[in-house]
């Protein structure tokens, strides 16, 4: 799907895949360190001594997937103390995020995405317009437990919004506009809003052009800016729901010739849950 969208953005790519659930009381954490030779075992043994329990580690390229018997906050505090150069790409019980600079094909091959399976997934290929081409600037962005965001567009009030969110304790690593949207949703969800409420509130608070796709533990949500500057097309069959920027990206899907194809209306929150 992403290869046909490469012309829209070939500089970096990323995937969020929702698969096997971590046991009750455990979390899955996707981590990244720029050094291929980074000593993940050393980090893991330090995390283990903090948690007092064994931690499951899977390494791939610059990424590591940890399954840890702790909660999100404890882990974030621990990692911030242990190594500031390690980036948390996702936290949840089902989500795993992989993202890097390069074309979708390169990123797929680097992380063996073809061999992976799950209930649902979100992919993104980026053409940077607002900020640097980097792993941290790639999508999807984590927005909380089992949540992630991908964005097509550019936000115009992200600098002001970033400053306001910082005052409320949201941390940012880049100058990227989408990271601000992700931070905004994290902040709204922390306030106790549901995802739908947070998305509806964003219509007021986030200014600019966007199609957002938000992955959740159970499914995904879509929101387009009220002016409809950015595209989206949906395909629905009895077996699946798929969303893309363009129909071209959907043509490889099974049964697409018989799918119900439609455009999400601007300014309306849509969401789907797996059966």
């Amino acid at each position: 799907m992403l290869e046909s969208m490469c012309g829209r953005g070939p500089d970096s790519a990323g995937f969020a895949i929702y698969n096997d659930e971590a046991p009750e009381g455990w979390i899955k954490v996707s981590l990244q360190h720029p050094d291929f030779a980074y000593d993940w075992r050393k980090l893991v043994s330090r995390v283990e001594s903090r948690c007092g329990a064994p931690v499951n580690l899977k390494k791939k390229s610059t990424h590591a997937l940890l399954v840890v018997p702790t909660d999100e906050t404890t882990l974030r505090v621990a990692l911030a103390e242990l190594d500031r150069d390690v980036t948390i790409l996702s936290v949840g019980r089902r989500i795993q995020i992989m993202k890097e600079t390069g074309t979708p094909r390169e990123v797929v091959e680097r992380f063996g995405v073809r061999e992976m399976a799950g209930t649902h997934a979100i992919g993104h290929t980026r053409m940077a317009t607002e900020s640097a081409v980097s792993t941290a600037g790639s999508h999807p962005f984590s927005t909380g437990m089992d949540l992630c965001l991908v964005h097509n567009g550019s936000l115009s009030n992200h600098n002001r919004l970033r400053e306001n969110l910082k005052k409320d304790g949201i941390e940012f690593r880049t100058e990227n506009d989408t990271e601000v949207a992700a931070g905004y949703f994290t902040w709204r969800l922390r306030q106790g809003m549901s995802l739908r409420e947070a998305l509806e509130a964003s219509l007021e608070d986030i200014d600019g052009f966007y199609t957002f796709a938000i992955g959740t533990a159970e499914g995904f949500a879509v929101l387009r800016d009220p002016i409809a500057c950015k595209p989206a097309v949906m395909a629905e069959t009895d077996d699946y729901v798929a969303m893309a920027s363009e129909y071209r990206a959907l043509i490889g899907l099974p049964g697409i010739d018989f799918a119900r194809l439609w455009e999400p209306e601007p300014g309306i929150v849509y969401s789907w849950s797996r059966a």
Binding site: I227, A228, P231, V233, E246, Y247, R248, A249, L250, I251, L261, W262, E263, E265, P266
Partner: protein
């Protein structure tokens, strides 16, 4: 009939072949469009092109004389800047259908999304379904006929295009007003509805157009500009 399969040929090859068909009223069938952009663009001969499936952006853009039939949906900007000829979309059209088009007829059997007929300059557009917001924005000439409903801000900042809507209008844009339907309008509507194969009666439509208040700068209107 000439058949071009876009699973085998490139869009560039198809368009080049169509451009060479000057003055030749040939018939073409395009297979496996797969949502490709710029299919059958810049035609300038009375050819007929049938496209079997969905196309991407700017299909039949800049069309002159040709008839282009899309047996599926269209992405953004179908028939943009059309000069003459006929473009018939059998499915739905995305945003900015018929944008800036100077002439010809664009028929959309399904719905068209936002900004249908934006800056239209003489084209006739018949949408059998509904249109999205800001349709006919800054329309300068031509006719937009909507058999279903129109979204917000219909005809915003319109100059002289005529708008006919059968269903509900969510809201009218700046300087767009309801207008009286005269016999000449009913007559014109009857003809274009028949030509388009639209199952609607002229009397069911309401006409909208420019109040012409934004034509000249008036300081009292400063907040409206």
């Amino acid at each position: 009939m000439k058949i071009v399969d876009l699973a085998v040929s490139s869009v560039r090859e198809l368009n080049a072949a169509l451009h060479e068909a000057r003055g030749d009223p040939s018939r073409w069938r395009v297979l496996t469009p797969g949502g490709a952009h710029a299919v059958a663009v810049g035609l300038n001969a009375p050819v007929t092109v049938e496209i079997e499936g969905h196309v991407g952006y700017y299909c039949a853009g800049m069309n002159q004389l040709a008839t282009v039939v899309v047996e599926g949906n269209c992405g953004t900007g179908v028939a943009e800047n059309m000069m003459s000829g006929l473009v018939h979309v059998k499915g739905n059209a995305s945003q900015s259908a018929g944008a800036t088009a100077h002439g010809g007829l664009l028929i959309i059997d399904g719905d068209a999304s936002a900004r249908c007929g934006i800056s239209m300059k003489g084209v006739d557009i018949v949408v059998k379904g509904s249109v999205g917001h800001m349709s006919a924005f800054m329309g300068q000439a031509g006719n937009l006929v909507v058999c279903g409903n129109a979204g917000d801000a219909l005809g915003d900042s319109i100059y002289e295009a005529r708008l006919f809507v059968r269903g509900e209008v969510a809201s009218l844009g700046a300087d767009c007003v309801k207008k009286e339907m005269l016999p000449k309008h009913l007559e014109w509507l009857a003809a274009v509805l028949e030509k388009s194969g639209a199952n609607a009666k002229p009397e069911e439509f309401t006409r909208y157009g420019s109040a012409r208040n934004l034509y000249n700068f008036k300081v009292d209107h400063a907040s409206s500009y």
